[in-house]
């Protein structure tokens, strides 16, 4: 006996994952690990490689190189045992139009040896009233709630959620957040992809920011935001374009970028920056149309790291 305890493998392990689609490099060495009971987010813009990563982990795609393991199993060798351990909400999927809500849950529950109670799931996801409705009759939010319920029919160890709130209105999105928070309280391991800052900040224990097929930052939302600590984001719109470079040299401004006609300034002394801005605009005979102030968010971290906004 050496006395050394074997280190338990993280429930999700991704090491140096590569994937090409023809000439397009979708993944260029993605690595991260997720511990059991953690809600882990992959945050990044469209085309960053989030869906490719999660679909490799679900066993829907194969990687070109690297390691992907879920519950100690290789998803590429998608045996039944592996599928019994995971649940997933896919980004682009559907069900037959004439399948009723309860029938869909019962159908999928029947595939697994370990099953959640379908009636309880219907209650939990507020689908009781719609249990006899056809899939085609459901709203976007109801379809997504059903997708989440279906992901839990086998009481999985790991739940994959690929953009679970994309395209939903804010009210429905909040409902989905409540459901994911319930999973979090139940210590379910969740891997979620998103391009919504609010989602990642509110739901995730840790976040990997992904861009162009690489993880460019990883940590808790608090740790990541500390990179932008002390900064305030000012988003301003002007009547006419600013004179080249003048905004970047205002008092307190550490960074200035233009996105879609708006200027985003990161300032370490916001009040002084605003005073200087007003003076500068007067001097240029320009007008301020709007000004919004934000405390640091993951969006600022992304801008700082990539020079782009998340939802460009």
């Amino acid at each position: 006996m050496t006395g050394i305890q074997p280190v338990a493998e993280p429930i999700i392990l991704v090491e140096n994952l590569f994937k090409n689609y023809g000439a397009v490099e979708a993944l260029r060495g993605v690595s991260f690990a997720v511990e059991e009971g953690e809600v882990f987010g992959l945050l990044g813009p469209n085309g960053a490689g989030k869906t490719t990563t999660i679909e490799i982990l679900e066993g829907l795609r194969t990687s070109d190189r690297g390691t992907a393991r879920v519950c100690g199993l290789d998803p590429e060798k998608t045996g039944e045992r592996f599928k019994e351990l995971i649940g997933a909400v896919l980004q682009s999927t559907s069900l037959p139009a004439k399948l009723r809500v309860k029938e869909a849950l019962e159908l999928f529950a029947n595939f697994y040896p370990q099953r959640a109670n379908v009636d309880q799931l219907l209650r939990r996801f507020q689908l009781e009233e719609k249990s006899k409705a056809f899939y085609s009759e459901l709203s976007g939010g109801q379809k997504q709630r059903l997708a989440l319920a279906m992901a839990l029919v086998n009481d999985p160890r790991v739940v994959f959620l690929d953009e679970p709130t994309a395209g939903l209105d804010p009210q429905v999105r909040r409902e989905i957040y409540d459901i994911i928070e319930e999973l979090k309280r139940g210590k379910k391991t969740v891997l979620i992809t998103t391009h919504y800052i609010e989602e990642a900040e509110r739901l995730c224990d840790r976040v990997a920011i992904v861009d162009h097929g690489r993880v460019i930052a990883l940590g808790t939302p608090r740790e990541l935001k500390q990179k932008a600590a002390g900064m305030t984001r000012l988003e301003i719109r002007l009547a006419r374009p600013a004179v080249n470079g003048t905004l970047a040299h205002l008092d307190g401004v550490s960074d200035c970028r233009e996105f879609d006609g708006a200027y985003i300034l990161h300032s370490v002394r916001a009040p002084q920056t605003i005073v200087a801005l007003v003076k500068q605009l007067e001097a240029e005979n320009n007008e301020l149309q709007s000004l919004e102030m934000f405390s640091p968010s993951l969006e600022d971290v992304f801008i700082e790291l990539t020079g782009r906004r998340l939802r460009e």
């Binding site: 679900e58 599928k83 896919l90 037959p96 399948l99 595939f111 697994y112």
Partner: protein, 300 residues
């Protein structure tokens, strides 16, 4: 949960979905009825013995039609992303494909029975024909043509492509099988070509069975050809099965369709060299022709 159990679970849902599909009722029930009443009405002044011959053709088209519905449904499921939802569940391609075939068979049975009863009631046919042969051929024929549909779904990438290939196959099956035009009236060279058409085994078998003219050996040969066709087609479709809408079939995959025809090519070649099928088909047709009322010679 075993493969059998998963297949049965899927089969039940497929049956449910088919029953809720109006297009299914139109193509599976109304269309064959139109054909039956059209042909039956045309021959209503002929002898009753001719109606079983028409029934054989109607049953053949009903069973052959399996391939069309299944290929369209599977491609539609793939395009809509429905299949990929099943992919993350412990459901393999085998249960998914087998459930298509089995549910289609269960849906065919009431239609076939309905057609037989309509023949008895509307056209006063008293003879049931060779019932066991009919059941056997309907069963294996339904499965074989369903499997052909699954291959079409596996080698086509879009619904448009599926419909185009379905049309081409349907033309070949419907006109060269003997289901709508008796093989006996084809020129000799075309009769020989028809021996390679999969549906010919079904059409000939069912016509012989409904008219009680089949020998057990003939039915066995039809049965064997269809079973071999079913096995090869199912295995190919299982191997080529694609869950993902963006996973395109390589061009080489289309060649696999030809592989599915190998059993029929072998049977066709054997028949052309050693068999007596054409002689039998022509003899059956001659017997039926003799039953038809002759037109009176013009008065001088």
């Amino acid at each position: 949960m075993g493969i059998v159990s998963r297949t049965w679970t899927l089969t039940k849902v497929r049956l449910l979905l088919a029953l809720r599909n109006r297009a299914f009722f139109f193509f599976s029930l109304i269309m064959p009825m139109i054909f039956l009443f059209g042909a039956g009405g045309f021959l209503r002044h002929g002898p009753r013995q001719y109606i079983p011959y028409v029934l054989g053709a109607v049953l053949t088209t009903t069973v052959m039609g399996s391939f069309w519905g299944l290929s369209v449904q599977l491609v539609s499921f793939r395009e809509q992303g429905i299949l990929r939802r099943f992919r993350i569940a412990p459901v393999g391609a085998g249960p998914m494909l087998a459930s298509s075939i089995i549910s289609n068979y269960f849906m065919s049975i009431p239609v076939v029975l309905f057609e037989i009863f309509v023949c008895r009631l509307a056209f006063h046919v008293r003879d049931w024909g060779n019932v066991w042969a009919i059941i056997l051929l309907i069963t294996v024929g339904s499965a074989a043509f369903s499997a052909l549909g699954l291959i079409v779904a596996s080698v086509t990438n879009t619904m448009q492509e599926t419909q185009m290939i379905n049309n081409l196959i349907w033309m070949g099956l419907i006109f060269l099988s003997g289901a709508t035009i008796p093989i006996a009236i084809f020129p000799q060279w075309l009769q020989r070509v028809a021996l390679f058409i999969p549906a010919q085994y079904l059409a000939t078998g069912l016509e012989s069975a409904t008219t009680s003219m089949a020998t057990y050996y003939e039915v066995f040969e039809d049965f064997a050809a269809l079973v071999m066709g079913l096995y090869v087609a199912f295995e190919i479709s299982r191997r080529l099965f694609r869950w993902e809408p963006e996973a395109k079939a390589p061009r080489s995959a289309k060649l696999w369709v030809l592989a599915a025809l190998v059993p029929f090519l072998l049977f066709g070649a054997w028949e052309n060299i050693y068999g007596s099928r054409l002689k039998t088909v022509n003899s059956h047709f001659s017997r039926l022709s003799l039953m038809m009322p002759r037109q009176s010679p013009p008065a001088h």
